[in-house]
């Protein structure tokens, strides 16, 4: 973004900030969803908007979509225009951590002020009901024998699904570059490939598989989180003897260059949001799990995950 528009962004941001300063609602927010309308980050941003306004946490909340490249386009714009403005927020998630690395994005999460993790979901490994594999250990043994013969259907390359397979391979002592990972666009297409027995095994958000499990068309072999996931009694990877702990989370971050008081004020507002009745009922209708984590705990967790993700993406060969 070192184009002529850079200056204009700043100008625009400054003008906007100036205008926002005149009405001086302390609690006005502009939330950037670094994705097109309709996706997970967009609906997170719009849900925040809805609840913050309904619960009176903020006077007026606007959502702005800046789609592109796993959120890195929006992140770069946010980092360059929002600096020092406590009324600007950006939504993001684990996918962004991977995208920053694989796209060699010049802007990273270190260039904004992460506030809190809001929601999360386990990644699940599942096979169709007709599959011969009953447990995750059988599957991993088959991979050890011939990694190419076990084809994995999941989301885009370098995404959370791919990372999880890489971590699993590593934990099981299999060369992560040897996994036969077939990337599909969108959960539906991958799911169809699994149900149609086109591939050996599938990996995706647990929510996508649960209805299939209920209908008896699929089996979940394992989930990626540290604890069992509600709605399935499938074992965790940890329980099965593989040291893998992945959660596909969504977070909210504030502008770079905030003072400690400003950061505390934003954190307090997000805290109010998460503890409101409106947010809780919204999570229930959307089927999102509350994995709220803020402050120093979140910062520490984030740093750990960035480190682990960088390592595994290197192992898979997606990052130099």
């Amino acid at each position: 973004m070192k184009t002529p528009f850079f200056g204009k962004h700043t100008l625009f941001g400054a003008a906007l900030a100036a205008v926002l300063a005149i009405p001086a609602h302390a609690g006005d927010y502009m939330i950037m969803a670094p994705a097109a309308p309709g996706g997970g980050w967009d609906s997170t941003a719009r849900s925040m908007q809805e609840v913050m306004q309904a619960e009176g946490i903020a006077g007026s909340v606007q959502v702005q979509n800046v789609p592109g490249a796993g959120g890195t386009v929006g992140l770069a714009q946010f980092a360059s225009t929002a600096g020092g403005d406590p009324s600007q927020l950006i939504v993001g998630g684990y996918v962004m951590v991977g995208a920053i690395l694989t796209n060699e994005s010049p802007v990273s999460l270190a260039d904004v002020t992460p506030i809190a993790r809001l929601t999360g979901e386990a990644v699940a490994i599942a096979v169709s009901a007709a599959s011969p594999y009953q447990t995750i250990n059988e599957l991993v043994d088959a991979m050890k024998a011939d990694p190419g013969a076990v084809s994995w259907a999941g989301g885009s390359a370098g995404g959370v699904d791919h990372i999880t397979v890489g971590l699993l391979a590593k934990a099981a002592g299999i060369d992560p570059t040897k996994i036969n990972y077939v990337a599909f666009s969108g959960g539906g297409e991958a799911l169809a490939a699994i149900l149609g027995n086109q591939v050996t095994v599938g990996i995706s958000g647990v929510g996508e598989f649960l209805p299939q499990v209920e209908a008896g068309t699929m089996r979940i072999l394992a989930v990626s989180t540290a604890e069992k996931w509600a709605g399935t009694d499938a074992p965790t990877l940890m329980e099965s003897g593989y040291d893998v702990n992945v959660q596909n989370w969504r977070m909210v971050a504030a502008a770079p260059g905030l003072s400690a008081e400003q950061k505390a004020a934003v954190t307090a507002d997000v805290d109010k949001l998460v503890n409101s009745a409106g947010w809780k009922s919204l999570l229930e209708t959307k089927g999102w799990a509350n994995t709220y984590l803020s402050g120093a705990d979140f910062d520490k967790q984030l740093a750990l995950e960035v480190e682990a993700t960088t390592a595994v993406l290197k192992d898979i060969g997606l990052v130099k």
Partner: protein
């Protein structure tokens, strides 16, 4: 309609050579990309370099084809076009591109409208106010009423607030 402008003439086709040059450039670019990418074909045996190589080869073949027809065929005369109105419109699009962020939707898009209509023969003195009014109305309907987020400038913030 196109044929009205071009009569069959016995002269080498300059256009064919220009097209050939452009195709060769694109083809070269695709080929370069195809070979520059580290091969991660994995089990497929065909990685992300496969299609660029195919497309690059195809474009080069088509470039050769254009050279051949250019040398051989009785080419049509280059069509007569009036560059002025085209430049007006391109200027309008450029103005919108550059002014959208700093000045907002109304001014940028109003200018596009004004310059386009002016290029097609109307006076700027009329098209400018019409364009601004129309763009403002569109902003009001789509941004305020239908929740489509359009870039705001000082006009929009003045009228509708932050």
């Amino acid at each position: 309609m196109i044929h009205d402008l071009r009569g069959p003439q016995g002269r080498p086709q300059r256009a064919a050579f220009i097209v050939a040059g452009l195709l060769a450039a694109l083809g070269g670019l695709a080929l370069w990309q195809g070979f520059a990418l580290p091969d991660k074909g994995g089990y497929a045996g065909m990685g992300s370099g496969g299609l660029p190589k195919f497309v690059g080869a195809g474009l080069l073949a088509l470039a050769a084809g254009h050279v051949w027809t250019g040398l051989r065929a009785q080419g049509p005369l280059p069509p007569r076009i009036q560059p002025a109105p085209v430049l007006w419109i391109v200027a309008g699009l450029l103005a919108q591109l550059l002014l959208l962020k700093p000045l907002g939707f109304t001014i940028a898009s109003g200018l596009l409208f004004a310059l386009t209509a002016a290029g097609l023969g109307r006076s700027l003195r009329i098209t400018l106010p019409v364009g601004l009014a129309l763009a403002f109305a569109i902003y009001a309907v789509f941004d305020q009423l239908l929740q489509l987020h359009l870039p705001a400038g000082w006009i929009e913030t003045l009228v509708f607030g932050g």
